[in-house]
């Protein structure tokens, strides 16, 4: 055992990148398996008979039985699991219990809308929170401008406390219904994106802005910034070269952890705006008890979260190579 770990340590020292990527890939695979298993287990674990619940209490028994056979629910559990995995490998997600349409088709038509929403919102979070937080940090360093700091803290904690679906409802009521400035629902072109993206991005922006500010304040008191100040560099060089990169790595780690929550948040926001994405499909099928669609949505959203996590980790490792060494 010690020799094995010693050999591993040696490998890690010589090829930190390979070991890092390998570990991350293993982790991703395990997590994806977990998601697949969870989505497989869902329809089989729900109390009562999901097929009957979906088809209605007065559905003829032979129709229910046929549906159960179609879903493979009459087989042995391990056989079901293998069958499920094989189907999944072929991109087959089964058919909706309610409409009988293939679920894969539904996902394929709806996933792009959800991804567009999430990516746009995340981009907004980054472009506002990072420069804003750094500026706030520079302005309020060392207890300067206490009133600005108080206003900022108060505003961001209130904004961060507003849940996205409530904000979405408020925006709809105020801007779409009240002022008629934006479409109320659906995807009708670029201006339809404004409200859903705003609803999704506002709270994470407030959270990230505070974190970037605190990180900037921490870096500003670092010894190496004092050494850089001693060189009397122009302010732009000082802040952009000596403060920004160091404040960014920690901030981006937090930003990366906001992305999965943002993807999950699309479910609620899409429901408010009747956005033609996965989230609203999931919300509808939850009410209709269409577990075939719910399990596919869980699978897709869960995998999206994992892949986003993985990509963020890789991006961070590229930005700060020391983290690769630290971890291996």
């Amino acid at each position: 055992m010690p020799t094995l770990s010693a050999r591993f340590g040696d490998l890690a020292r010589r090829h930190p990148w390979a070991v890092f990527c390998g570990r991350r890939a293993v982790r991703l695979t395990v997590l994806l398996l977990l998601v697949v298993t969870a989505s497989f287990a869902m329809i089989r674990l729900v109390p009562g008979d999901p097929v009957r619940a979906a088809l209605g209490v007065d559905a003829p028994p032979d129709l229910v039985a046929a549906k159960r056979r179609e879903l493979g629910l009459d087989r042995e559990l391990t056989a079901q699991y293998w069958w499920y995995l094989r189907r999944l490998a072929h991109g087959d997600l089964g058919v909706s219990l309610v409409t009988g349409e293939p679920v894969a088709e539904l996902i394929r038509s709806r996933l792009p809308a959800t991804l567009r929403l999430a990516v746009l919102a995340f981009a907004c979070v980054l472009t506002v929170a990072i420069p804003g937080g750094m500026l706030a940090g520079v302005l309020t360093r060392g207890g300067r401008r206490p009133r600005t700091e108080l206003t900022l803290t108060a505003t961001t904690s209130v904004v961060a406390g507003v849940p996205d679906f409530v904000l979405a409802a408020g925006l709809t009521a105020g801007l779409a219904v009240g002022l008629r400035a934006f479409p109320v629902a659906g995807d009708l072109g670029p201006q339809s994106y404004v409200l859903p993206v705003l609803a999704l991005a506002l709270a994470p922006t407030a959270v990230l802005l505070r974190i970037v500010r605190v990180e900037t304040l921490r870096v500003l008191t670092a010894d190496h910034v004092r050494a850089a100040r001693a060189k009397r560099l122009p302010a732009a060089t000082l802040y952009l070269r000596h403060v920004a990169p160091n404040a960014l790595t920690a901030s981006l780690t937090i930003a990366g952890s906001l992305l999965p929550a943002l993807i999950a948040g699309t479910v609620l926001v899409e429901k408010v705006f009747a956005w033609p994405g996965i989230g609203s499909a999931m919300a509808q099928s939850v009410v209709a008890q269409d577990y075939a669609v719910v399990e596919a949505s869980v699978l897709v959203l869960g995998s999206a979260v994992l892949v986003a996590n993985f990509l963020v980790d890789l991006a961070l490792a590229l930005l700060d190579p020391r983290s690769v060494i630290r971890e291996t």
Binding site: A160, V166, A173, A230, K231, R232, K271, G302
Partner: protein, 659 residues
Amino acid sequence: MAPSPSSPSSRSLRRPSRGGDGDGGSRPSRPSRSCWATPMGVVVLAMLGSLAVLAVAGPLWWGHAADRPDPSAVLQGPTGRHPLGTDHLGRDLLARLLASTWPSLLPAVAATLLGAAAGITLGALTAVVGGRARRLLGAFVNLLLAFPALLIAMFFAALFGAGARGAVFALAVACAPGFARLTQTLAAGVAGTDFMAAARVLGLRRHRLLLRHVLPHVAEPLLLNVTVAVGSALVALSGLSFLGLGAQSPSYDWGLLLSQGLERVYTEPLPAVAPGIAIVYAGVAFQLLGEVLAKTATRHAAPRHAEGPAPPPAPAGRRPASPDHVLEVEDLRVALPAGDRTIRPVRGVSLALRRGEMVGLVGESGSGKSLTALALADLLPDGARATWNAHWFLGADVGSLTRGERHRQLATGMAMVFQNPASAFNPALRIETQLTEAVRAHHGTPRDQAVEQALVQLRRVALPGERRLLRSRPFQLSGGQRQRVAIAAASMLRPDLVIADEPTTALDVTVQRQIMDLLRRLRRDDATAILFISHDIALVADTCDRVLVMYGGTIVESLPARRLADGARHPYTRMLVASVLDLTAERDGTPPTVEGPPPDAVGTDPGCPFLDRCPQRLDRCAVEGPVPTLLAPGHEVACWRPLPLAAPPGQPETEEAET
């Protein structure tokens, strides 16, 4: 961020701000009461109080009105009788909103407590189980944490079946991993402590260990997180109800009211907005509570920015600078605000450096030598203020310069070498950038020329490796290499003055000697004046031309370095010298020890700062601070009763006795 060895000069920088708390150690345990007396504390208490009153009184007062259908007033907008309008059965929406405070808050609290209990148990277990089980538990929690809580909650809510109870359990499952991770992190700190080891040796049972030793030590931060989690649970539960996974008709909560209100948002926005405001109100209340509690836990006196870095009052043209002086400062004082007081770590320092002169500034930690250096370089921390009677640098009166002129003067005329080479370089930037950026910014040197100059300077500090070194990052160099690079960087612009603030303290003895040689060569080749700050009087005696001994924020003695061993006249200098028995042998970097308490940093006492530790004080010393007097050419002492040149008491056999 780098865990630097707690070095004398960094302590001297930090001590004032800590000393400002006044009553020292007892402070952190007490401020809990005062935190609630802040405006924020009052607001939080008021918000939570109103929620509690509504939760209890809501169903009693409005419960009846909330459930009374009125077929004549279905789906009405806001009217005088129904301020928020009515729902599809004609029930009053305001009554429903207020009556549902309890069913909205209770599940959130229940879900948080359930989840916290499960998570904390899981996390605390890792502190008491063996290695393999601990790794497995850690990995398990990590896997769960990869998913956002909302997604997990939705999954389990769908699994447990729509309904309030299912939603509570789902949310408990969703928030458990977060608590488990937090507990693991906190418990890991406890697991390594001595008393845990002792408890294990005593053979205490696991649940005993858990209850008696682990949990009490991690209770406070966990409690704080439970508070914050109630707020997010409330929001998440409303979200589940909103999706149709939470409360089911005929029961209702804020999330369901919001969902129902949203269906008619096109005609009536208020029925959707009002429950939203209620959710936000409660969520913010709990979040603010967490913030107040966190402040209570980690309160520290933020430095007040009382008087900005105002230009010091300089009596203009009081005295012209001597032509051969690079730097001349008279009666330099530094004031730092700490809490509601002002401390004065530097109180009247006068010094002058000639071109090419190397002057040592010696003193124990807290004597104000680093702040003196920072004041001379205009690098004082925020809130600190420097004043002086006269301050000349490179022939210009500093007080009469504009900001831009002063900036340019310092940019090319002065360079600094800091104590800790591990933290003085930006870890994210290549050595090349950090070496060349100053010369490129101030002389406009093109990049390739700047690189050539950098290579010349690196060769001067005996660092071969050349371009490969330029491409490396600070963490790839050793401490000694980094300090050489720092000296190379300081000499890139051929400054007139280099301030080296304990440049050798963090290095081992052989490297120390090399660094000192480099500084001496820099002085000889470029005629650069060097202000060398150190607590190591032996090192200073070896290398400098002149020595300034600092104590309690003032310079108590100034004398030629070669006279240090036998000619010191101030009792403090004498004690410092005596503490290093052999001036040439002992140089292990430990600060010289002088008995007695360090001087008080507030600096309001009128007498001599050395009074409490002085073996031969006079009555006069307590009421009147000694003024520097010239005893011999180049030798000044601030003491009412300088020691005679003869052997000091208790030191008869040292060499100064013979002269």
